[in-house]
Every structure is written in structure tokens, then in C-alpha cells.
């Protein structure tokens, strides 16, 4: 993950940008002809009863097979290369430092979209205030109830964890542990604690503390059983000595 060059927070949107966005938030009705055409097409597809056939991807089946074969081949090659690297250089820093970047899940194909969770309107996110304006959160301290303040806290958490991420990139796993400990102290129930624990686990593996890493992994699996980071963590554990 790229971090802010200056290491500072994003300045807030100026009023002009906010005004521009406010205009764009209003959905203007489309030209009637466009609407009528789109609806007629949709209705015709339904009437023809060929939704299932039409909804398949425009990529031909043969193309999918080739794509699948190519992907499998690349994955095999990558695994072999990774195994070779691990055998050659067991130093912790040789492994991929980009835990969270790698753990980002690419959007799945159009055919596999998931059902959405309930939607609710929220206040627009305020930009991030300077770090000094946000008091350190101690365990047990009540959290702000104002949604905007909560988002500010999250950006502060994000900034802290970005430091940890930078340290992972440098291979400075001791620093990662220090930052994750500081995060835990300040934001014990923070919204990014899942990412913090993943970073901590990464650091433990990097430091060669396999036993602690496995314990941390078990806790992570217990606390975040549906985490999208689980697969990546399993891979890391599997590749740890």
C-alpha cells in the first residue's frame, strides 16, 4: 500500500469540492427515449424467457476454459517459484511483505456477485484531522458516538497501521510489533483490529516466533472466522519454518 508521501492526513475537501459532489449526488432522470429503450429491451428479454442464456458472460466458454488453464498454470509456476525462494533464502525478510495488499480480494466475476447487506444512509465522511487533535484511546474508554468522530478515529487507526505496513515492507518486524501494540493500547476495540492482528501475525512469523504466531493465528481464526485475510494468513503460516 502506498502511503502519503508526507506522512500526513488528507486535508478535508474544500467547500467547492463538497458543492460539486452535492450536485452529483442528485440523480437526474435520463432522457425518456433512453429509458424506454432500456426497459423495452429488459422486458423483451424476460418475455423471450432467455435470461439464463443471455446472462452468461459474453466471453465464450472456450475462452473461459483457456483462461482457467492459463490461470492454473500461472498459479502453479508462482507456487513453484515461491517454494524455490523459500528453500534458497529462509530469511524472514525474503517473504512477501505486503500482507494487506496481497490480501485484498479482487472483485469477483459478474456472475458471482453476493447479496448485499442492509443499506443505511450515513453522514458524509469528514476528512482526517491532524493526529494531535485526536486523543489517545485507552482501553475501556468510551468511544465517540458521533459518526463523523468515529470515522476520524478510523483514519487515525489507518495512519498508525500504515506505519506498521511500511515497517513490514522494510522487514522491520520489531517495529511492526511495537506499532500493533500501540494500536491495541489506543484502540483496543478499534474497527481495524482485524487488520492489526493480521499485521501482528505477519511480524511474529517474520521474527521467526512460530509458536506465538500459531497461537495468534488460532486467536485470529476464533475472533474473525469470516475474515478475508484468513486465506493469506494460512498461506503465511504454511510457509513459515
Amino acid at each position: 500500500m502506498k502511503v502519503d508521501d508526507s506522512g500526513r492526513m488528507i486535508p478535508p475537501f474544500c467547500p467547492m469540492v463538497e458543492a460539486l459532489l452535492a450536485h452529483e449526488r442528485t440523480i437526474v432522470p435520463q432522457v425518456s427515449l433512453v429509458r424506454a429503450r432500456a426497459l423495452a429491451r429488459a422486458r423483451n428479454a424476460l418475455r423471450a424467457g432467455d435470461v439464463m442464456a443471455l446472462a452468461t458472460s459474453s466471453v465464450p466458454r472456450r475462452g473461459w476454459r483457456l483462461l482457467f488453464a492459463a490461470t492454473a498454470g500461472i498459479a502453479l509456476l508462482a507456487s513453484a517459484a515461491a517454494a524455490y525462494q523459500l528453500l534458497r533464502s529462509p530469511a524472514p525478510s525474503a517473504r512477501s511483505p505486503h500482507l494487506l495488499q496481497c490480501a485484498q480480494v479482487a472483485p469477483s466475476s459478474a456472475a458471482t456477485e453476493t447479496a448485499p447487506a442492509p443499506a443505511a444512509k450515513s453522514a458524509p465522511v469528514r476528512a482526517v484531522p491532524p493526529a494531535s487533535t485526536i486523543p489517545a484511546q485507552t482501553p475501556g474508554t468510551s468511544r465517540p458516538t458521533n459518526p463523523a468522530a468515529k470515522e476520524d478515529i478510523v483514519f487515525e487507526e489507518l495512519r498508525l497501521l500504515e506505519r506498521a505496513q511500511q515497517s513490514v515492507t522494510r522487514g522491520d518486524y520489531a517495529a511492526v510489533l511495537a506499532v500493533t501494540t500501540e494500536h491495541e493500547r489506543r484502540y483496543s476495540g478499534g474497527r481495524l483490529c482485524e487488520e492489526r492482528e493480521a499485521l501482528r501475525l505477519r511480524a511474529l512469523i517474520g521474527l521467526g516466533r512460530s509458536h506465538e504466531a500459531r497461537q495468534a493465528a488460532a486467536r485470529f481464526r476464533h475472533d474473525f472466522p469470516r475474515s478475508v485475510l484468513l486465506l493469506k494468513l494460512d498461506d503465511m503460516l504454511a510457509s513459515s519454518p
Binding site: V17, A38, L46, R47, A55, P116, K121
Partner: protein
Amino acid sequence: MGSASLTGPHSAPEQPNHGVRALDREEETCLHAYQRELDYLLRTLKRLGVGPVDIEDLAQDVFLILRRNWQQYDPTCSLRPYLFAIAFRVASSHRRRRWREVPLPVVDGPDSALCPDGLLEADQARNTVLKVLQTIPLPRRAVLVMHDLDEVPVQLVATTLSIPLFTVYSRLRKARREVKSAIVRMQERGAIR
């Protein structure tokens, strides 16, 4: 969200029924929902960088996917995030097929010469936002559009786009910075005042 009727002013012209079957209740419901959110969907596709030439085809693709997965949709939830997720994936897939992003040649809208001042200003603002959005890479743009324009909570953005919360915040932060830079550049060129 409004609740426009299928027989409302925007409804499609009725097609002659030459031996084709009538729609069942579920299909009617799905079509009704699609009709209700069609303006939003078309705007979303435009925000995601789909050109005017392709927009109706992609809207149709979104509808077909929506229909196919209609039983998975929870009607107690807002349809927009669900539609956005489909639109985002369809737009991404469309872009991959084209191999390169083609910037919008024309950001179309009502004829500004006919608009009163207020409408003209709003129209210009919307066009400016669309141009700015085109400068932001699609994954970050999706997060920005969902959260800052559609006002979807970050948790739901993460769920809808199947990405970690951490990533949502990172993308949002960077996208906001890119919005600001793009607007500054446009101001320097005199494109906006």
C-alpha cells in the same frame, strides 16, 4: 427511492405479444425494481467510465444478472448497493475486454443553452465531477462513488465490493486526494472557476 409505476411516464412502450409468454409476478417485480433504479444505474455506469455507446448494452447486462440472481436479493435492503456491485463488476469486465480505458469523448447532458442559470450550474458541476472521476483508477473510484456520492457506509462498501475494511479506507483516502488534485489541475487550466 421512488416507487414509479410501470405505467408511469417513463415506462417502456408496450410491446405486441406475438406468441411470447406473459411475465410472472417475480419477473414483474424485478422489472419494476430495474425501472425504478434505471436512472441511478445509468448514472452509475457513467461514473464508472462506461461510454455513451456502451451504456445501454451494459445496463441490459446488469439487468440480466439482476434477474438471474433476483431470488438472492433481500427486498428489505436498499437495491442500490446491490445494483452498484453488479454494475461495478460488469463495468470492470467490460473494461478488461477493451484492454484500455477509453475516456468519455463527450459528457452528455441536457442542452445547457436551454437551461436556467441554476440548472446550468448544476449541470456543469455534474459534468465536472464525471470528468474528475475519469481520472481515478476504477477500484478507488468505486469506493469513492459508493461512499462519497451514494453515501453508503464503509462497512457496506467493504461487504459489497468484497474487500477488507482497511482497503476501503485506504482507497477512499487516496481517491479523495486524487479528486482534489484533479480539481486543482482543472482550475489551473481554467476548466472550472
